[in-house]
Protein backbone atom coordinates (compact mmCIF):
# COMPACT_ATOMS: atom_id res chain seq x y z
CA UNK A 1 0.00 0.00 0.00
CA UNK A 2 2.64 2.51 1.10
CA UNK A 3 5.05 1.23 -1.51
CA UNK A 4 2.40 1.78 -4.17
CA UNK A 5 1.94 5.32 -2.90
CA UNK A 6 5.64 6.12 -3.03
CA UNK A 7 5.96 4.46 -6.45
CA UNK A 8 3.13 6.43 -7.96
CA UNK A 9 4.54 9.45 -9.75
CA UNK A 10 1.29 11.47 -9.70
CA UNK A 11 0.86 10.80 -5.97
CA UNK A 12 4.39 12.00 -5.29
CA UNK A 13 3.95 15.17 -7.34
CA UNK A 14 0.61 16.03 -5.76
CA UNK A 15 1.81 15.25 -2.23
CA UNK A 16 4.91 17.40 -2.65
CA UNK A 17 2.85 20.27 -3.99
CA UNK A 18 0.39 19.91 -1.13
CA UNK A 19 3.15 19.93 1.49
CA UNK A 20 4.77 23.03 -0.04
CA UNK A 21 1.31 24.58 -0.01
CA UNK A 22 0.66 23.78 3.64
CA UNK A 23 4.10 24.89 4.82
CA UNK A 24 3.89 28.14 2.84
CA UNK A 25 0.28 28.95 3.77
CA UNK A 26 0.94 28.57 7.50
CA UNK A 27 3.64 31.25 7.55
CA UNK A 28 1.94 33.15 4.71
CA UNK A 29 -1.22 33.74 6.75
CA UNK A 30 0.71 35.84 9.27
CA UNK A 31 2.72 37.61 6.57
CA UNK A 32 -0.45 38.54 4.69
CA UNK A 33 -2.17 39.81 7.85
CA UNK A 34 0.91 41.80 8.79
CA UNK A 35 1.01 43.38 5.35
CA UNK A 36 4.46 41.94 4.63
CA UNK A 37 3.60 39.27 2.10
CA UNK A 38 6.03 40.72 -0.45
CA UNK A 39 8.86 39.91 1.92
CA UNK A 40 8.39 36.31 0.81
CA UNK A 41 9.16 37.43 -2.73
CA UNK A 42 12.29 39.25 -1.58
CA UNK A 43 13.42 36.34 0.57
CA UNK A 44 12.88 33.69 -2.07
CA UNK A 45 15.10 35.64 -4.46
CA UNK A 46 17.87 36.70 -2.15
CA UNK A 47 18.37 33.24 -0.69
CA UNK A 48 19.92 32.31 -4.03
CA UNK A 49 22.96 34.08 -2.60
CA UNK A 50 22.70 31.97 0.56
CA UNK A 51 22.44 28.77 -1.43
CA UNK A 52 25.50 29.57 -3.51
CA UNK A 53 27.59 30.73 -0.55
CA UNK A 54 26.71 27.65 1.49
CA UNK A 55 27.49 25.45 -1.50
CA UNK A 56 30.88 27.16 -1.96
CA UNK A 57 31.71 26.72 1.72
CA UNK A 58 30.42 23.19 2.32
CA UNK A 59 29.64 21.68 -1.04
CA UNK A 60 26.11 20.88 0.12
CA UNK A 61 23.40 21.48 -2.48
CA UNK A 62 20.56 20.70 -0.12
CA UNK A 63 19.94 19.40 3.39
CA UNK A 64 19.97 20.97 6.84
CA UNK A 65 23.03 23.18 6.25
CA UNK A 66 21.31 24.71 3.26
CA UNK A 67 18.17 25.34 5.32
CA UNK A 68 20.14 27.17 7.99
CA UNK A 69 22.08 29.15 5.39
CA UNK A 70 18.84 30.15 3.71
CA UNK A 71 17.26 31.19 6.99
CA UNK A 72 20.25 33.43 7.72
CA UNK A 73 20.14 34.98 4.22
CA UNK A 74 16.43 35.60 4.63
CA UNK A 75 17.04 37.33 7.93
CA UNK A 76 19.85 39.36 6.37
CA UNK A 77 17.41 40.54 3.70
CA UNK A 78 14.88 41.66 6.29
CA UNK A 79 17.54 43.17 8.51
CA UNK A 80 18.99 45.24 5.65
CA UNK A 81 15.51 46.28 4.60
CA UNK A 82 14.64 47.50 8.09
CA UNK A 83 18.01 49.24 8.39
CA UNK A 84 17.34 51.17 5.17
CA UNK A 85 13.78 51.98 6.22
CA UNK A 86 14.97 53.15 9.64
CA UNK A 87 16.99 55.95 8.06
CA UNK A 88 13.65 57.55 7.26
CA UNK A 89 14.88 58.37 3.75
CA UNK A 90 13.52 55.21 2.11
CA UNK A 91 10.02 53.82 2.48
CA UNK A 92 9.65 50.22 3.55
CA UNK A 93 8.47 48.84 0.21
CA UNK A 94 11.20 50.68 -1.65
CA UNK A 95 13.74 49.31 0.79
CA UNK A 96 12.59 45.77 -0.01
CA UNK A 97 12.95 46.55 -3.70
CA UNK A 98 16.47 47.89 -3.16
CA UNK A 99 17.80 45.04 -1.05
CA UNK A 100 16.72 41.81 -2.70
CA UNK A 101 17.84 42.52 -6.28
CA UNK A 102 21.30 43.30 -4.91
CA UNK A 103 21.53 40.04 -2.98
CA UNK A 104 19.92 38.07 -5.82
CA UNK A 105 22.27 39.49 -8.44
CA UNK A 106 25.33 38.77 -6.31
CA UNK A 107 24.04 35.22 -6.01
CA UNK A 108 23.54 34.92 -9.78
CA UNK A 109 27.01 36.37 -10.46
CA UNK A 110 28.61 33.88 -8.08
CA UNK A 111 26.66 31.11 -9.78
CA UNK A 112 27.96 32.17 -13.18
CA UNK A 113 31.55 32.51 -12.07
CA UNK A 114 32.00 29.56 -9.76
CA UNK A 115 29.24 27.09 -10.41
CA UNK A 116 28.97 26.70 -14.16
CA UNK A 117 29.19 22.92 -13.99
CA UNK A 118 27.04 22.39 -10.95
CA UNK A 119 23.40 21.56 -10.95
CA UNK A 120 22.18 24.91 -9.69
CA UNK A 121 20.92 27.33 -12.29
CA UNK A 122 18.68 30.34 -12.39
CA UNK A 123 15.94 28.62 -14.31
CA UNK A 124 15.56 25.84 -11.76
CA UNK A 125 15.81 28.33 -8.94
CA UNK A 126 12.99 30.48 -10.27
CA UNK A 127 10.66 27.94 -11.80
CA UNK A 128 11.67 24.57 -10.40
CA UNK A 129 10.18 21.46 -11.88
CA UNK A 130 7.74 19.65 -9.72
CA UNK A 131 7.28 17.04 -12.45
CA UNK A 132 10.71 15.62 -11.65
CA UNK A 133 10.47 15.30 -7.84
CA UNK A 134 10.30 11.51 -8.13
CA UNK A 135 13.71 11.35 -9.79
CA UNK A 136 15.67 12.20 -6.66
CA UNK A 137 14.81 9.69 -3.96
CA UNK A 138 16.27 8.47 -0.70
CA UNK A 139 15.76 5.14 0.98
CA UNK A 140 13.67 5.35 4.12
CA UNK A 141 12.45 2.27 6.02
CA UNK A 142 12.57 0.17 2.89
CA UNK A 143 10.71 2.70 0.73
CA UNK A 144 12.13 4.91 -1.95
CA UNK A 145 10.92 8.35 -0.87
CA UNK A 146 11.49 11.50 -2.94
CA UNK A 147 13.96 13.85 -1.29
CA UNK A 148 11.64 16.84 -1.82
CA UNK A 149 8.69 15.10 -0.20
CA UNK A 150 10.82 14.45 2.85
CA UNK A 151 12.21 17.98 3.21
CA UNK A 152 8.82 19.57 2.54
CA UNK A 153 7.18 17.23 5.04
CA UNK A 154 9.74 18.30 7.63
CA UNK A 155 9.17 22.00 6.91
CA UNK A 156 5.38 21.64 6.98
CA UNK A 157 5.64 19.86 10.34
CA UNK A 158 8.04 22.46 11.74
CA UNK A 159 5.82 25.35 10.64
CA UNK A 160 2.76 23.61 12.06
CA UNK A 161 4.44 23.16 15.43
CA UNK A 162 5.55 26.81 15.37
CA UNK A 163 2.12 28.31 14.67
CA UNK A 164 0.36 25.88 17.02
CA UNK A 165 2.70 26.43 19.94
CA UNK A 166 2.88 30.21 19.46
CA UNK A 167 -0.63 30.76 18.11
CA UNK A 168 -1.62 33.21 20.84
CA UNK A 169 1.68 35.07 20.72
CA UNK A 170 1.69 35.36 16.91
CA UNK A 171 -1.91 36.53 16.94
CA UNK A 172 -1.26 39.30 19.44
CA UNK A 173 2.01 40.38 17.80
CA UNK A 174 0.34 40.56 14.38
CA UNK A 175 -2.79 42.34 15.57
CA UNK A 176 -1.33 44.76 18.12
CA UNK A 177 2.42 44.97 18.14
CA UNK A 178 2.50 47.67 20.83
CA UNK A 179 0.50 45.65 23.35
CA UNK A 180 2.51 42.53 22.55
CA UNK A 181 5.70 44.44 23.30
CA UNK A 182 4.22 46.00 26.45
CA UNK A 183 3.23 42.55 27.74
CA UNK A 184 6.75 41.25 27.08
CA UNK A 185 6.03 38.98 24.10
CA UNK A 186 8.91 40.34 21.99
CA UNK A 187 7.04 40.81 18.67
CA UNK A 188 10.26 41.69 16.85
CA UNK A 189 11.84 38.36 17.75
CA UNK A 190 8.66 36.46 16.82
CA UNK A 191 8.60 38.18 13.45
CA UNK A 192 12.21 37.26 12.76
CA UNK A 193 11.50 33.65 13.75
CA UNK A 194 8.56 33.64 11.32
CA UNK A 195 10.79 34.97 8.55
CA UNK A 196 13.53 32.46 9.32
CA UNK A 197 10.96 29.69 8.86
CA UNK A 198 9.73 31.35 5.67
CA UNK A 199 13.28 31.36 4.31
CA UNK A 200 13.91 27.75 5.26
CA UNK A 201 10.61 26.76 3.64
CA UNK A 202 11.60 28.68 0.53
CA UNK A 203 14.89 26.88 0.11
CA UNK A 204 13.29 23.51 0.77
CA UNK A 205 10.67 24.34 -1.83
CA UNK A 206 13.24 25.48 -4.40
CA UNK A 207 14.15 22.04 -5.67
CA UNK A 208 10.59 20.98 -5.99
CA UNK A 209 8.61 23.96 -7.13
CA UNK A 210 10.86 27.01 -7.56
CA UNK A 211 10.45 30.50 -6.21
CA UNK A 212 7.37 31.60 -8.11
CA UNK A 213 5.06 28.75 -7.05
CA UNK A 214 6.38 29.19 -3.52
CA UNK A 215 5.44 32.88 -3.50
CA UNK A 216 2.02 32.00 -4.92
CA UNK A 217 1.49 29.50 -2.10
CA UNK A 218 2.59 32.03 0.55
CA UNK A 219 0.30 34.81 -0.61
CA UNK A 220 -2.70 33.48 -2.52
CA UNK A 221 -4.28 30.74 -0.32
CA UNK A 222 -4.18 32.93 2.84
CA UNK A 223 -5.66 35.83 0.87
CA UNK A 224 -8.47 33.60 -0.38
CA UNK A 225 -9.06 32.24 3.13
CA UNK A 226 -9.15 35.80 4.48
CA UNK A 227 -12.17 36.42 2.24
CA UNK A 228 -14.19 33.51 3.60
CA UNK A 229 -13.64 33.58 7.36
CA UNK A 230 -13.45 35.89 10.39
CA UNK A 231 -11.41 33.58 12.59
CA UNK A 232 -7.64 33.33 12.54
CA UNK A 233 -7.46 29.57 13.15
CA UNK A 234 -10.02 28.97 10.41
CA UNK A 235 -8.00 31.17 8.11
CA UNK A 236 -4.95 28.96 8.71
CA UNK A 237 -7.06 25.85 8.11
CA UNK A 238 -8.78 27.12 4.96
CA UNK A 239 -5.51 28.43 3.53
CA UNK A 240 -3.90 25.01 3.94
CA UNK A 241 -6.98 23.34 2.48
CA UNK A 242 -6.99 25.64 -0.55
CA UNK A 243 -3.30 24.94 -1.09
CA UNK A 244 -3.92 21.16 -1.02
CA UNK A 245 -6.89 21.42 -3.39
CA UNK A 246 -4.85 23.61 -5.75
CA UNK A 247 -2.18 20.94 -5.78
CA UNK A 248 -4.70 18.24 -6.80
CA UNK A 249 -6.56 20.38 -9.30
CA UNK A 250 -3.35 21.84 -10.69
CA UNK A 251 -1.91 18.41 -11.42
CA UNK A 252 -5.13 17.22 -13.05
CA UNK A 253 -5.47 20.29 -15.22
CA UNK A 254 -1.80 20.20 -16.21
CA UNK A 255 -2.05 16.59 -17.35
CA UNK A 256 -5.28 17.31 -19.20
CA UNK A 257 -3.92 20.35 -21.02
CA UNK A 258 -0.33 19.08 -21.20
CA UNK A 259 1.17 22.20 -19.60
CA UNK A 260 3.55 22.96 -16.71
CA UNK A 261 2.38 21.32 -13.48
CA UNK A 262 3.84 23.99 -11.17
CA UNK A 263 2.34 26.74 -13.30
CA UNK A 264 -1.06 25.08 -13.20
CA UNK A 265 -0.93 24.70 -9.41
CA UNK A 266 -0.24 28.45 -9.10
CA UNK A 267 -3.09 29.15 -11.50
CA UNK A 268 -5.41 27.05 -9.35
CA UNK A 269 -4.61 29.08 -6.20
CA UNK A 270 -5.63 32.11 -8.25
CA UNK A 271 -8.84 30.40 -9.30
CA UNK A 272 -9.72 29.73 -5.67
CA UNK A 273 -9.02 33.38 -4.87
CA UNK A 274 -11.47 34.45 -7.57
CA UNK A 275 -14.08 32.01 -6.23
CA UNK A 276 -13.63 33.36 -2.69
CA UNK A 277 -13.79 36.89 -4.01
CA UNK A 278 -17.10 36.18 -5.77
CA UNK A 279 -18.80 33.76 -3.39
CA UNK A 280 -17.34 34.60 0.01
CA UNK A 281 -20.19 34.49 2.57
CA UNK A 282 -19.61 37.97 3.97
CA UNK A 283 -16.93 39.78 1.96
CA UNK A 284 -17.72 38.18 -1.39
CA UNK A 285 -18.90 40.39 -4.23
CA UNK A 286 -22.24 38.59 -4.54
CA UNK A 287 -22.97 38.59 -0.80
CA UNK A 288 -22.20 42.29 -0.62
CA UNK A 289 -24.38 43.04 -3.63
CA UNK A 290 -27.27 41.09 -2.10
CA UNK A 291 -26.83 42.89 1.20
CA UNK A 292 -26.84 46.28 -0.47
CA UNK A 293 -29.99 45.37 -2.39
CA UNK A 294 -31.71 44.16 0.73
CA UNK A 295 -30.78 47.39 2.51
CA UNK A 296 -32.10 49.44 -0.39
CA UNK A 297 -35.36 47.46 -0.39
CA UNK A 298 -35.74 47.91 3.36
CA UNK A 299 -35.31 51.63 2.91
CA UNK A 300 -37.83 51.77 0.11
CA UNK A 301 -40.40 50.07 2.35
Amino acid sequence: MLAAFFDSIPAMIIATGALVGIAASLVGTFLVLRGSSLLSDAISHSIVLGIVVVWMLTGAQSGPVQLVGAALTGLLTVFLTELLAATGRVKNDAAIGLVFPVLFSIGVLLLNVYARDVHIDQHTVLLGEIGFVWLDTVSLGGYEVPQSLLSMGAMAALNLVFVTLLFKELKLATFDRALAAALGFMPGLLFYALLALTSATAVAAFDAVGAILFIAFVIVPPSAAYLITDRLWLMLLFASLIAVLSSFAGYGAAVLLDVSIGGMMATMTGLFLVLAFLFGPRYGLIAQGLRRRRAALAQAV
Binding site: L165, E169, D176, A181
Partner: protein, 305 residues
Protein backbone atom coordinates in the same frame (compact mmCIF):
# COMPACT_ATOMS: atom_id res chain seq x y z
CA UNK B 1 24.29 58.55 16.61
CA UNK B 2 23.62 57.67 20.20
CA UNK B 3 25.24 60.12 22.52
CA UNK B 4 25.68 59.77 26.20
CA UNK B 5 23.26 61.97 28.09
CA UNK B 6 26.03 64.15 29.42
CA UNK B 7 27.55 64.89 26.04
CA UNK B 8 24.10 65.62 24.64
CA UNK B 9 23.46 68.06 27.45
CA UNK B 10 26.73 69.77 26.93
CA UNK B 11 26.03 70.09 23.25
CA UNK B 12 22.63 71.56 23.96
CA UNK B 13 24.19 73.93 26.48
CA UNK B 14 22.11 72.50 29.25
CA UNK B 15 23.43 71.82 32.72
CA UNK B 16 21.54 69.30 34.80
CA UNK B 17 20.81 70.37 38.30
CA UNK B 18 22.66 68.11 40.71
CA UNK B 19 20.29 65.78 42.56
CA UNK B 20 20.89 63.54 45.51
CA UNK B 21 21.75 60.08 44.23
CA UNK B 22 19.05 58.36 46.27
CA UNK B 23 16.27 60.22 44.49
CA UNK B 24 17.44 58.73 41.19
CA UNK B 25 16.89 55.16 42.24
CA UNK B 26 13.48 54.74 43.76
CA UNK B 27 10.34 56.77 44.17
CA UNK B 28 7.99 54.15 45.62
CA UNK B 29 5.47 56.78 46.61
CA UNK B 30 4.91 57.82 43.02
CA UNK B 31 2.78 55.84 40.57
CA UNK B 32 4.96 57.11 37.73
CA UNK B 33 8.33 58.76 38.08
CA UNK B 34 10.38 59.92 35.11
CA UNK B 35 13.74 61.62 35.39
CA UNK B 36 15.88 63.29 32.74
CA UNK B 37 14.12 61.47 29.92
CA UNK B 38 15.22 62.40 26.41
CA UNK B 39 13.93 60.60 23.32
CA UNK B 40 15.31 61.44 19.90
CA UNK B 41 14.14 60.54 16.44
CA UNK B 42 16.81 60.91 13.76
CA UNK B 43 18.90 63.03 16.12
CA UNK B 44 16.05 65.45 16.76
CA UNK B 45 14.71 65.39 20.31
CA UNK B 46 11.04 64.45 20.47
CA UNK B 47 11.08 64.63 24.23
CA UNK B 48 13.74 66.65 25.99
CA UNK B 49 14.79 66.37 29.61
CA UNK B 50 11.43 65.21 30.92
CA UNK B 51 10.91 65.09 34.67
CA UNK B 52 7.53 63.69 35.58
CA UNK B 53 5.95 62.79 38.89
CA UNK B 54 2.45 61.36 39.04
CA UNK B 55 1.15 60.40 42.50
CA UNK B 56 -1.01 57.29 42.88
CA UNK B 57 -4.79 57.55 42.81
CA UNK B 58 -5.11 60.44 40.39
CA UNK B 59 -6.66 60.77 36.96
CA UNK B 60 -3.98 62.53 34.99
CA UNK B 61 -4.23 64.15 31.56
CA UNK B 62 -1.21 64.63 29.34
CA UNK B 63 -2.03 67.56 27.10
CA UNK B 64 -0.09 69.39 24.42
CA UNK B 65 -0.10 70.38 20.74
CA UNK B 66 0.42 67.92 17.89
CA UNK B 67 3.98 66.66 17.83
CA UNK B 68 4.49 67.47 21.50
CA UNK B 69 5.55 63.89 22.16
CA UNK B 70 2.52 62.81 24.21
CA UNK B 71 2.27 59.30 22.77
CA UNK B 72 6.04 58.97 22.75
CA UNK B 73 6.13 59.75 26.47
CA UNK B 74 3.76 56.88 27.22
CA UNK B 75 5.65 54.56 24.88
CA UNK B 76 8.94 55.45 26.53
CA UNK B 77 7.51 54.73 29.97
CA UNK B 78 6.33 51.32 28.73
CA UNK B 79 9.66 50.57 27.08
CA UNK B 80 8.22 50.65 23.56
CA UNK B 81 10.64 53.31 22.33
CA UNK B 82 14.26 53.49 23.35
CA UNK B 83 15.17 56.70 25.13
CA UNK B 84 18.50 58.43 24.57
CA UNK B 85 18.71 58.91 28.30
CA UNK B 86 16.51 58.83 31.34
CA UNK B 87 15.32 56.90 34.31
CA UNK B 88 11.76 55.63 34.69
CA UNK B 89 10.02 53.85 37.56
CA UNK B 90 6.42 52.86 38.24
CA UNK B 91 5.63 52.48 41.92
CA UNK B 92 9.37 52.60 42.51
CA UNK B 93 10.27 49.77 40.12
CA UNK B 94 11.39 49.61 36.49
CA UNK B 95 8.60 48.75 34.06
CA UNK B 96 9.90 45.25 33.32
CA UNK B 97 9.33 44.29 36.93
CA UNK B 98 5.80 45.71 37.20
CA UNK B 99 4.42 44.70 33.79
CA UNK B 100 1.57 42.77 35.39
CA UNK B 101 0.44 45.87 37.30
CA UNK B 102 0.26 48.12 34.24
CA UNK B 103 -2.58 48.37 31.74
CA UNK B 104 -2.08 49.93 28.31
CA UNK B 105 -4.57 51.12 25.71
CA UNK B 106 -2.78 52.09 22.47
CA UNK B 107 -4.30 54.45 19.95
CA UNK B 108 -7.23 52.78 18.24
CA UNK B 109 -5.83 53.57 14.80
CA UNK B 110 -2.61 51.62 15.39
CA UNK B 111 -4.24 48.23 14.84
CA UNK B 112 -5.89 46.63 11.83
CA UNK B 113 -9.60 46.32 12.63
CA UNK B 114 -10.06 43.93 9.70
CA UNK B 115 -8.01 41.35 11.56
CA UNK B 116 -9.89 38.02 11.64
CA UNK B 117 -10.91 37.90 15.29
CA UNK B 118 -13.87 38.56 17.59
CA UNK B 119 -14.63 41.20 20.19
CA UNK B 120 -14.37 38.66 23.00
CA UNK B 121 -11.04 37.43 21.68
CA UNK B 122 -9.56 40.93 21.61
CA UNK B 123 -10.54 41.48 25.25
CA UNK B 124 -8.96 38.15 26.21
CA UNK B 125 -5.68 39.43 24.73
CA UNK B 126 -5.37 41.68 27.79
CA UNK B 127 -4.82 38.52 29.84
CA UNK B 128 -2.09 37.04 27.63
CA UNK B 129 0.57 38.53 29.88
CA UNK B 130 -0.84 36.74 32.93
CA UNK B 131 -1.31 33.50 30.99
CA UNK B 132 2.33 33.52 29.89
CA UNK B 133 4.10 31.95 26.93
CA UNK B 134 2.67 28.92 25.08
CA UNK B 135 -0.39 28.40 27.31
CA UNK B 136 -3.91 28.98 26.01
CA UNK B 137 -6.64 31.07 27.65
CA UNK B 138 -9.02 28.85 29.66
CA UNK B 139 -12.49 29.22 31.10
CA UNK B 140 -11.41 31.57 33.88
CA UNK B 141 -9.92 33.96 31.31
CA UNK B 142 -12.97 33.75 29.08
CA UNK B 143 -15.26 34.61 31.99
CA UNK B 144 -13.07 37.54 32.99
CA UNK B 145 -13.25 38.87 29.45
CA UNK B 146 -17.04 38.56 29.46
CA UNK B 147 -17.24 40.50 32.73
CA UNK B 148 -15.08 43.29 31.35
CA UNK B 149 -17.29 43.48 28.25
CA UNK B 150 -20.29 43.86 30.51
CA UNK B 151 -18.58 46.72 32.35
CA UNK B 152 -18.21 48.68 29.11
CA UNK B 153 -21.70 47.73 27.92
CA UNK B 154 -20.50 45.60 25.00
CA UNK B 155 -21.60 42.13 26.17
CA UNK B 156 -24.03 41.79 23.26
CA UNK B 157 -21.18 42.19 20.77
CA UNK B 158 -18.94 39.43 22.16
CA UNK B 159 -19.17 37.15 19.11
CA UNK B 160 -18.94 39.95 16.56
CA UNK B 161 -16.10 40.31 14.11
CA UNK B 162 -14.22 43.47 15.16
CA UNK B 163 -14.53 45.16 11.77
CA UNK B 164 -18.28 45.49 12.36
CA UNK B 165 -17.82 47.93 15.26
CA UNK B 166 -18.15 51.69 15.21
CA UNK B 167 -15.27 53.84 16.42
CA UNK B 168 -16.80 54.26 19.84
CA UNK B 169 -17.45 50.54 20.17
CA UNK B 170 -13.88 49.77 19.17
CA UNK B 171 -12.65 52.08 21.91
CA UNK B 172 -14.86 50.38 24.50
CA UNK B 173 -13.44 47.02 23.48
CA UNK B 174 -9.92 48.37 23.92
CA UNK B 175 -10.88 49.73 27.34
CA UNK B 176 -12.33 46.34 28.33
CA UNK B 177 -9.06 44.73 27.23
CA UNK B 178 -7.20 46.98 29.68
CA UNK B 179 -9.76 46.40 32.45
CA UNK B 180 -9.23 42.62 32.46
CA UNK B 181 -5.61 43.23 33.38
CA UNK B 182 -6.74 44.53 36.79
CA UNK B 183 -3.73 46.81 36.81
CA UNK B 184 -2.69 49.51 39.30
CA UNK B 185 -1.57 52.02 36.71
CA UNK B 186 -3.38 52.54 33.39
CA UNK B 187 -1.97 54.33 30.37
CA UNK B 188 -4.45 55.32 27.66
CA UNK B 189 -3.45 56.93 24.38
CA UNK B 190 -6.21 59.23 23.11
CA UNK B 191 -9.13 57.06 24.27
CA UNK B 192 -11.61 59.84 23.57
CA UNK B 193 -10.47 60.61 20.02
CA UNK B 194 -13.21 60.13 17.43
CA UNK B 195 -15.78 58.52 19.73
CA UNK B 196 -19.41 59.51 20.21
CA UNK B 197 -20.55 61.54 23.21
CA UNK B 198 -22.18 58.53 24.92
CA UNK B 199 -19.01 56.49 24.69
CA UNK B 200 -16.92 59.42 25.90
CA UNK B 201 -19.08 59.70 29.00
CA UNK B 202 -19.00 55.94 29.56
CA UNK B 203 -15.22 55.93 29.32
CA UNK B 204 -14.85 58.86 31.72
CA UNK B 205 -17.16 57.15 34.18
CA UNK B 206 -15.19 53.89 34.11
CA UNK B 207 -11.87 55.70 34.41
CA UNK B 208 -13.27 57.70 37.33
CA UNK B 209 -14.33 54.48 39.03
CA UNK B 210 -10.80 53.12 38.61
CA UNK B 211 -9.40 56.27 40.18
CA UNK B 212 -11.88 56.04 43.06
CA UNK B 213 -10.69 52.47 43.63
CA UNK B 214 -7.19 53.84 44.17
CA UNK B 215 -5.79 53.14 40.69
CA UNK B 216 -3.75 55.65 38.74
CA UNK B 217 -5.07 56.61 35.32
CA UNK B 218 -2.82 58.48 32.89
CA UNK B 219 -4.47 59.64 29.69
CA UNK B 220 -3.16 61.33 26.57
CA UNK B 221 -5.96 63.82 25.92
CA UNK B 222 -6.59 66.13 22.98
CA UNK B 223 -9.54 68.22 24.09
CA UNK B 224 -8.63 71.20 26.24
CA UNK B 225 -12.30 71.98 26.86
CA UNK B 226 -12.88 68.88 28.97
CA UNK B 227 -9.60 68.73 30.87
CA UNK B 228 -10.91 70.34 34.04
CA UNK B 229 -14.16 68.40 34.21
CA UNK B 230 -12.57 64.98 33.61
CA UNK B 231 -9.17 65.10 35.30
CA UNK B 232 -7.68 66.08 38.64
CA UNK B 233 -4.01 66.04 37.59
CA UNK B 234 -2.49 67.72 34.57
CA UNK B 235 0.77 67.49 32.64
CA UNK B 236 1.31 70.15 29.99
CA UNK B 237 3.78 68.88 27.41
CA UNK B 238 5.53 70.34 24.42
CA UNK B 239 8.75 68.37 23.92
CA UNK B 240 9.55 69.54 27.46
CA UNK B 241 7.24 69.45 30.44
CA UNK B 242 5.81 72.95 30.68
CA UNK B 243 3.94 72.40 33.94
CA UNK B 244 2.55 69.55 36.03
CA UNK B 245 0.44 69.25 39.14
CA UNK B 246 -3.17 69.42 40.35
CA UNK B 247 -5.32 70.53 37.46
CA UNK B 248 -6.68 73.61 39.24
CA UNK B 249 -3.17 74.96 39.80
CA UNK B 250 -1.82 74.14 36.37
CA UNK B 251 -4.71 75.04 34.07
CA UNK B 252 -3.84 78.73 33.72
CA UNK B 253 -3.78 80.99 30.71
CA UNK B 254 -0.03 81.51 31.04
CA UNK B 255 0.74 77.81 31.19
CA UNK B 256 -1.49 77.02 28.22
CA UNK B 257 0.07 79.82 26.23
CA UNK B 258 3.52 78.50 27.06
CA UNK B 259 2.44 75.04 25.91
CA UNK B 260 0.66 75.90 22.71
CA UNK B 261 2.83 78.86 21.68
CA UNK B 262 1.94 79.88 18.13
CA UNK B 263 -1.42 78.11 18.22
CA UNK B 264 -2.60 80.63 20.77
CA UNK B 265 -5.34 81.95 18.49
CA UNK B 266 -7.22 78.76 19.13
CA UNK B 267 -6.92 79.32 22.86
CA UNK B 268 -8.35 82.82 22.83
CA UNK B 269 -11.71 81.22 22.09
CA UNK B 270 -11.28 78.76 24.90
CA UNK B 271 -13.03 79.16 28.20
CA UNK B 272 -10.17 78.51 30.59
CA UNK B 273 -10.88 81.69 32.52
CA UNK B 274 -14.35 80.50 33.46
CA UNK B 275 -14.85 78.20 36.43
CA UNK B 276 -14.71 74.52 35.64
CA UNK B 277 -18.02 73.02 34.56
CA UNK B 278 -19.47 70.51 36.98
CA UNK B 279 -18.46 66.97 36.09
CA UNK B 280 -21.30 64.82 34.90
CA UNK B 281 -23.49 65.56 31.95
CA UNK B 282 -20.66 65.51 29.50
CA UNK B 283 -18.14 67.79 27.91
CA UNK B 284 -18.76 71.49 27.58
CA UNK B 285 -19.39 72.37 23.96
CA UNK B 286 -16.84 74.65 22.45
CA UNK B 287 -14.85 75.29 19.30
CA UNK B 288 -13.41 72.14 17.84
CA UNK B 289 -15.69 69.96 19.92
CA UNK B 290 -18.11 68.71 17.32
CA UNK B 291 -15.38 68.23 14.77
CA UNK B 292 -13.82 65.59 16.99
CA UNK B 293 -16.90 63.43 17.07
CA UNK B 294 -17.19 60.74 14.50
CA UNK B 295 -20.57 59.19 15.05
CA UNK B 296 -22.17 61.37 17.67
CA UNK B 297 -25.92 61.64 17.72
CA UNK B 298 -27.61 65.01 17.88
CA UNK B 299 -26.36 66.93 20.93
CA UNK B 300 -29.82 67.19 22.45
CA UNK B 301 -30.25 63.43 22.36
CA UNK B 302 -26.91 62.96 24.09
CA UNK B 303 -27.81 65.47 26.77
CA UNK B 304 -31.20 63.86 27.46
CA UNK B 305 -29.66 60.60 28.61
Amino acid sequence: MLMSPSSRRRRQGYAAAARPAAARLHEPRLAAHVEDLTVSYHDKPVLFDIDLNVPPGVMCAIVGPNGAGKSTLIKAILGLVKPTSGHITLHGLPYRQVRARVGYVPQRSTVDWDFPTTVHDVVTMGLYGQIGWFKRPGRREREKASEALKMVGMQDFARRQISQLSGGQQQRVFLARALVQEADVYFLDEPMAGVDATTERAIVKILGALRDAGKTVIVVHHDLQTVRSYFDWLVLLNVRVIAQGPVDDIYTADNLRATYGGQIALLEHGDFTRPAPAPGPGPAPGPGFDAQKEDAGPPQAAEAR
